[in-house]
Subunit: 352 residues, 2 copies
């Protein structure tokens, strides 16, 4: 029953990842962070980019604080950097404790329950998340009784902004709430700003900033447009090219019909790769600087292109998907975040 496999299975989808753009973005965010040091959110496999390689590259650039969501994500990078440089944002549940105590990554304690759990286990150095108004995860200022945090050895006292991508009163309100809460807590470092928060100015920087999206090319606020570069370039291989006669419907439910005879290329890419149906009849790709529109509905593993203008295109060629996050977001209806984290394990990842 077991078949002996003697050869690799090359993937027909790959991500070209621009290592210089990643470093440039990190440096730009560091500069914008002023006197604060700059960490990196690498949860969700480094926003889909590949956490291990991102951590390795940013570590060489001087980054010493890496933020993941789950303990499994901490394990995945724990041989790349010292574990005490890794913070687990979702904190520590009962089932996580054996791993948390043995691994040495630091939990971001998010609730009185987590604080008590960590204290009772003698967990050692940790971080604490104060909820200053996103009202999602963290210890509310009203929960900070006189002694809740006593006895904790707190490295980072953090909070998280809800609306840093907007110019709204909530930002200032959260800043004030964080300052007040922090005044009563003895943490070594204070951390508040995500990517967008960095651009809100010096008051928001404190000791440590924690960009995520913008490291990977996302424009979290308009001011960043000139300093943030695209990192992720998805590519896919052409499976078939065929000349279709005028009038031909294309793809599921015939959502496109060829007005004239048309050269149609079918590529190995689909929503199972994270290229969702929102790109149907609206996405574009490039081959040797020739643009090709997606025609018809995106299938699970296939996309069809209008290849009339790409005369040199042949079966087996690789096309590059237009994936400027802002434009792709407008086209697809997905957020830049979803566009990144949806790029899954089917993709081979190549750093250029």
């Amino acid at each position: 029953m077991t078949n002996s496999v003697k050869a690799d299975a090359p993937s027909p989808v790959r991500l070209h990842l621009d290592g210089e753009a990643l470093l440039s973005n990190y440096k730009a965010l560091s500069k914008a962070s002023g006197a604060a040091t700059t960490g990196a959110a690498v949860k969700a496999n480094g926003y889909g980019v590949g956490a291990r390689e991102v951590v390795s590259r940013l570590s060489k650039a001087g980054c010493r604080d890496f933020f993941v969501a789950h303990w499994s994500e901490a394990v995945a990078i724990a041989d790349v950097v010292p574990a005490d440089q890794i913070s687990v944002l979702n904190g520590v549940g009962e089932a996580d404790m054996p791993l948390a105590l043995s691994l040495g990554a630091r939990p971001m304690l998010n609730s009185p329950t987590q604080v008590v759990r960590w204290k009772q286990a003698g967990g050692g150095r940790c971080h604490v998340m104060i909820d200053s108004g996103i009202n999602r995860l963290g210890i509310g200022p009203e929960q900070l009784g006189e002694d809740l945090l006593d006895g904790l050895d707190i490295d980072v006292l953090a909070s998280h902004l809800a609306s840093a991508d907007e110019d709204v009163a909530q930002n200032g309100e959260q800043l004030e709430a964080f300052r007040q809460a922090a005044a009563g807590v003895s943490g070594e470092r204070l951390s508040f700003a995500n990517s967008a928060g960095i651009m809100l100015g010096r008051d928001y920087h404190f000791d440590l900033t924690r960009p995520g999206l913008s490291l990977y090319g996302g424009i979290a606020r308009p001011e960043m447009t000139s300093i943030i570069k695209q990192v992720v370039f998805p590519q896919a291989q052409v499976l078939q090219i065929r000349k279709m006669p005028a009038g031909s419907p294309i793809g599921y439910n015939a959502t496109y019909r060829c007005e004239a005879a048309k050269r149609v290329a079918t590529v190995s890419l689909g929503y199972a790769d994270g290229y969702l149906r929102g790109f149907s009849n609206s996405g574009t790709v490039e081959f040797q600087e020739t643009a090709m529109p997606v025609i018809g509905r995106v299938s699970m593993d296939l996309v069809t292109l209008d290849a009339d203008n790409a005369e040199n295109l042949r079966e087996g060629d690789w096309i590059t998907i237009d994936y400027n996050l802002r434009e792709a977001s407008q086209i697809s209806g997905l957020s830049p975040y979803e566009l990144l984290t949806g790029l899954n394990s089917r993709f081979d990842r190549f750093w250029i």
Copy 2:
């Protein structure tokens, strides 16, 4: 630098998978397929359900034809069933040939180029896809010259329906085109119908049907509502419960505001798990038969719930996401297909 990890990292998200529902769906689709035998599309990791376990279970139920998209997906199940029961729908590119020849899974040849490649390599038994009008992938009837397929040892001669979920003329046109094309080709078996196509009746069944979506609980046509059962039940763990005062904004960009004081539960689930932002302020979950609405925007790794009615809910409890595919599709704006294939490797998978 290397950290010794002595404990597992339990995942805070898991899929409960109903093995009886999967078998029941397979049997229902087999019955609806009449005299035809019934295969199974297991591409994209078994539509997110987990290809290895799906193949193992359907194999025990008598299924002998499994369809994947990529060669890597064939490798992933090649120790579960004999390789000659595995068909690779995207065919065989130049780079796939070493693996294709050693593995023994059968390519679905989709273009004259692929046909020539397979012939020249002496690849042996294969399948051939005729494009009868989806105009996406396959050999067009106009490309079937007198001798293109001569010398091929064809097991399955297949075609694929574009609009079987609709009652449109295209279905009959494709049927006629497939019949005409098949009349001139010597394949051992003919295969035409996907999940929806099975319900179009006996004319569409031929020798082998290839359901996908409906195996996993998708209602491909309204006639299936009474025979197809839900297979996939995503669950996530509660990280924190907190009483929020009246007026509190919840989550990113304050898209929800508590009218009165409210008990809010935050669970470890987000769009990085495949639960996309379309569920913001609209999805629902269950705990001990109490429904809880999603409030606020879905984050990368977190979702907030109105837990006012779930008095027994505690941190560490598991909630079940309402994931009836038809309803979840209407709520989220995603197709049932995307709802399944988006469930990624962060989930542990448990069969019940």
